[in-house]
Amino acid sequence: MTSTTIIQHILTGISLGGAYALIAIGYTLVYGILLLINFAHSDIFMMAGYFMVFAMAVMPWPIAIPLVIAVTIFLGVVIEKAAYKPLRAAPRMSIMISSIGVSYLLQNLATYLFSALPKGYPTISPLKRVFQIGSVSASLVTFLTPVLTLILVFILMYLINHTKLGMAMRAVSKDYDTAKLMGIKINQIISVTFVIGSAMAAIGSILYFTDRMSVTPFSGTLPGLKCFVAAVLGGIGSVPGAVLGGFIIGISETFLTAMGYSTYSDAFTFLLLILILIFRPTGLIGETVTDKV
């Protein structure tokens, strides 16, 4: 590989990693608060892709993007209220099954409504504009994704660490019951978590699919799994961890694909998961949690 192609691949990798990071944030936040692997998150991401397809058919992108984000947030909150809230007191496995049920429902609903055939993803022309720096060329979305990811993460970190709402979120994730006793409105905090997660998933979906060209009812599954692995890799419950994990997975996947091992790039992600679970179960920057009896 020449240095130009290496730089090209690094750029693609960072861009993919940025999209992964945004989705991974949704997993990490929900897991941090509800101790739930939100299997439906990958399908929220997929649905955001479809929303964009339909929104762009009737309106220009500056209106379509905020609308898609709003609709995705609505979907995320509705799922939380309908499928997870009634099960707060139930065993954790029930909520997990419920989230799988939602994922199954969204996939089947998408197949029913939009058919299983791939739908072409609309091109957002400014995002597709190609830039040439030296001998490296890339579209705007490639440069924009990591920058946007970092900006969003800084805002989110500020929200979590320096506002009252963030303090409440941290309290709930530290100790659910005590937080409740201290007068924190648990349900509100959980809704906020889903709002943030779904918004990030919607933005991630726009950035991800702009490079992919098409959406199918199952195109959320694999990226969703990878993003969960990214969250575990960085340390589940931690936002910077999710971002770090997202970038690591995005870059390594791009390089494996470039070297001709695209079949094994997915396998590599799960090898990473197994390795991290053996050697550092709390993730790269996660904190150690002691189990209380």
Partner: protein, 384 residues
């Protein structure tokens, strides 16, 4: 009086039921041409009931959550297929790149045995390989919070699918073309009527597998599984080796799932990697949840009910429905699956116990049910 049924009468009822069932199955299978739909539904149901029970063993009894069913089934299906396709037609199956020479010579060596032995060998080997993979995944993952098992197994099943269809595996799995010409269940013999075995064989294998799992659950291992499900820390304090028991449950479950996968290959006669997508795992979860987590008979019952309604009774959901000249707009391809996913959500949210809760089927409960309708709830909570 009925409640205090003696052990003898229960045995008698069980025996009668088995005899009736075997006769019915035999009559159905030798008249396969007129009952084609029923036969294939029964075949599929009984195969899925093995997977459902093995998922229940892990999920309902041990409290672990594996989502790797499709992957383990794929392992079983491919291995069984490779060993059961007859060596004469194998070249037409692997028409692009041919079967790997080492595998071919191994297959030719096995040809001295009758085909039933070869198929059995394939099924068992599939189970063993799946069990080995389960052990390997289990060692790092089961030490930790069991949440990770769901993700690790889900990932595993996707990887297996990718690897099976990759071009590097062309000489073994025939890559993306899949395998065909897999023999069915029917026993070919000059003395038996055509079709004999097409139901009895899968039912017998399923009975064997399910009996094994029931015996495991009723043994001291099974009680340890349930202790782990209720409270891992307390179970450990009572001297139960957590990792060992979790591994055992996971390995047995994966082994049985792979056997069912092998049977599924024989049922479908041709397989490819797309058969074993994540939606297959979800379909099985649907069966287990509807049957009731922690009830073996519930899983079996629900495997038959769900399969029959999905493949047969509710087929009309996917066809356009026209009543009195008006086309009802909802009915079209895919609607059936939407109905099933809504049903799953309804069961998860409102009827968390499913059909059977954690009870098991018993004759006394069934016979006394009509008389005891108003009090059914009280008596039913007792474990049979």
């Amino acid at each position: 009086m009925l409640r205090s049924m003696t052990k003898k009468s229960t045995t008698l009822l069980n025996l009668t039921a088995v005899v009736v069932l075997v006769t019915l199955l035999y009559l159905l299978e030798i008249n396969k041409n007129s009952f084609g739909m029923a036969v294939s539904i029964l075949q599929k149901s009984v195969i899925l009931s093995i997977v459902a029970v093995s998922m229940n063993l892990l999920n309902g009894f041990t409290g672990l959550f594996s989502l790797g069913q499709a992957g383990f089934m794929a392992i079983g299906a491919y291995i069984t297929a490779i060993f059961s396709i007859s060596s004469d037609t194998i070249d037409s199956v692997y028409y692009t790149s041919g079967l790997a020479p080492w595998l071919m010579s191994f297959k030719l060596g096995l040809d001295v045995f009758p085909s039933a032995i070869r198929i059995l060998f394939g099924l068992l080997l599939g189970g063993v390989v799946a069990g080995l993979f389960a052990a390997l995944i289990g060692i790092p993952v089961l030490r930790l919070k069991s949440d990770y098992l769901a993700i690790a197994t889900l990932g595993f099943s996707e990887i297996i699918r990718a690897i099976l269809s990759s071009p590097q595996m062309d000489q073994i799995t025939n890559g993306s073309y899949g395998l065909k010409n897999i023999p069915g269940f029917a026993i070919e013999s000059d003395f038996l009527p055509v079709g004999t075995g097409s139901l009895l064989v899968p039912f017998a294998i399923a009975a064997l597998c399910i009996t094994f799992m029931v015996m495991l659950i009723k043994s001291s291992y099974g009680r340890a599984f349930m202790a782990i499900r209720e409270d891992g820390v307390a179970a450990e304090a009572m001297g139960i080796n957590l990792l060992k028991h979790k591994e055992l449950s996971f390995i047995v479950s994966s082994f049985m799932t792979a056997i069912a996968g092998g049977l599924l290959a024989m049922f479908m006669r041709s397989i490819d990697a797309r058969t074993f997508q994540i939606s297959m795992t979800y379909d099985i979860l649907l069966i287990v949840v509807i049957g009731g987590l922690g009830s073996i008979t519930g899983s079996i019952l629900s495997a038959f009910l769900v399969t029959a309604s999905k493949e047969w009774w509710l087929r009309f959901f996917d066809q356009p429905l026209i009543t009195g000249g008006i086309t009802i707009p909802l009915f079209r391809t895919g609607f059936r699956m939407v109905v099933f996913s809504v049903l799953l959500m309804v069961v998860v949210l409102f009827f968390r116990r499913g059909l059977m809760g954690n009870r098991e089927f018993s004759w006394s409960a069934l016979l006394s049910w009509p008389k005891r309708m108003p009090k059914a709830k009280k008596g039913a909570n007792k474990r049979g």
